[in-house]
């Protein structure tokens, strides 16, 4: 079958182009309007839900905090208070107790898990120089196996006080956060893994290490920036 034969084959009686055009454009306009109006109505609710979920997570990982303020990492390496709803840049959340005392910082971190990126938020305590809580914000780990990173009591026990003190020169952690096999944890900076969820639990340890190596020295060197809470 050649090109010319195809071209000369009798075409079925086509409705006018105008009808097709009218149908596609008409439906397109209708659908566009519908989507835009639903988007407009739901956007504020969705944003409020997300902000609430984040707030809850912050207080979850900083057990003593009752108030939180958002700070942004500036280009100079310091931190500045974020005004209003602006959420551009790299943010950390400072938690304060009832007496307006700084109790710690909540930091978001993410890294590759077994299925997809795992996003979590962890609480860093100044007095303990340790991670005092984590909350998984987003994970698609295997239900029943990998998702134990959110539910396994032994595993979560790791993050009640995970040592992330900075080294003497103040530029890196004294000890990297390292994953170990289940039941072999001996040091406060080791993360006791989960049998059956090895990759997911190792992923958590590694992403915490990477994030803490970046943030903790910066936070400690700019501690004064967080005290200016009015």
């Amino acid at each position: 079958m050649s090109q010319s034969e195809l071209a000369t084959a009798p075409a079925p009686a086509a409705p006018s182009i105008w009808h097709m055009y009218r149908a596609m454009v008409g439906v397109g306009v209708f659908c566009g309007l519908l989507i835009v109006s639903v988007f407009q109505v739901t956007l504020p609710i969705i944003e409020r839900n997300k902000a609430e979920a984040l707030q809850e997570a912050i207080f979850e990982v900083l057990p003593n905090a009752t108030k939180s303020t958002t700070y942004r990492l500036t280009e100079a390496g310091g931190f500045e208070l974020v005004e209003g709803e602006d959420d551009a840049g790299r943010l950390v959340y400072a938690g304060y107790d009832d007496a307006e005392q700084l109790v710690g910082l909540a930091v978001e971190a993410e890294g590759m898990g077994y299925q997809d990126v795992i996003a979590l938020i962890y609480g860093y305590s100044f007095t303990e120089q340790a991670i005092v809580g984590i909350q998984v914000l987003e994970s698609k780990e295997t239900p029943g196996l990998g998702d134990k990173i959110e539910t396994d009591a032994d595993f979560l026990e790791n993050f009640k006080s995970l040592d992330v003190s900075v080294g003497e020169d103040g530029s890196a952690l004294a000890n990297s956060v390292v994953p170990v096999k289940h039941g072999e944890k001996t040091q406060p900076w080791e993360v006791d893994g989960i049998t059956g969820a090895t990759i997911s639990s190792v992923a958590i340890a590694n992403l915490l290490d990477r994030s803490a190596q970046y943030w903790v020295p910066r936070i400690r060197n700019n501690l004064a920036d967080f005290q200016g809470q009015e």
Binding site: M20, V27, C31, L34, N49, A53, T142, G144, L145
Partner: protein, 216 residues
């Protein structure tokens, strides 16, 4: 009177005789993927049912307006619109639910059940009948998903809708929550439905034979 009866028939057929999952075996991707808990399954089923009903209504009301050549593109556009609407609404209602359903909400667009009903039914029938058809098929789909989700959650988690059913010593079948469990459960349900169908057919056959004998 006649039209209302046929409307009811359109509704009933989707629930049982032509159940989209157990009889037509359509839209298997979400059926297997998000039926690991009863809640996820029900939410997914209802989201699909909503899209199905809405797209059936719009397609059937526009059936004389859409030329045959561009019908598939137009149907997909309509379906995708309602899926986007559902996507936003679920995000607004519950972020946790949205997280659990994940990418499968967007994938309702390519659920062959919905396009299938638009093409095979809504494009040839009145709005009223198409609505009934969409409702029946949608609820049938949600019901089937719930059947799978409930079985998988009970066996795999020892719970239903998150409420613990058994004593702590109940050994959970983790495999039921994993993808393979979806296949096992679906197979068991299909087995049950086919067995019921065969039994019914056999009964009718014997009844017909008995009738013939009597006549003779």
């Amino acid at each position: 009177m006649a039209s209302s009866k046929s409307g009811t028939d359109e509704f009933i057929k989707g629930l049982w005789n032509e159940n989209p999952v157990f009889v037509q075996v359509l839209g298997m991707c979400p059926v297997l993927a998000v039926s690991n808990t009863a809640m996820n399954a029900l939410a997914m089923g209802l989201a699909t049912a909503f899209v199905l009903v809405m797209s059936n209504i719009v397609v059937s009301s526009l059936r004389n307006f859409i030329p045959k050549q561009v019908r598939i593109a137009t149907y997909i556009l309509i379906i995708a619109t309602f899926v986007t609407v559902v996507d936003y609404v679920i995000q607004a209602v519950s972020l946790d639910l949205y997280k659990a359903l994940g990418a499968f909400i967007s994938l309702i667009v390519v659920n062959c059940l919905i396009l299938g009903r638009a093409e095979a039914f809504a494009s040839k029938n009145t709005v009223a009948r198409s609505t009934m058809d969409g409702l029946g098929m949608g609820i049938g789909f949600a019901f089937a998903l719930f059947c799978l989700g409930a079985v998988r959650e009970i066996l795999g988690n020892g719970a239903l809708f998150g409420a613990q059913l058994f004593h702590d010593s109940f050994e959970k079948w983790v495999v039921m929550i994993l993808p393979s469990g979806g296949f096992f459960t679906l197979a068991a349900w299909l087995l049950l439905f086919n067995w019921l169908k065969q039994r019914k057919a056999k009964k009718e056959e014997t009844a017909a034979l008995a009738l013939q004998k009597e006549v003779a």
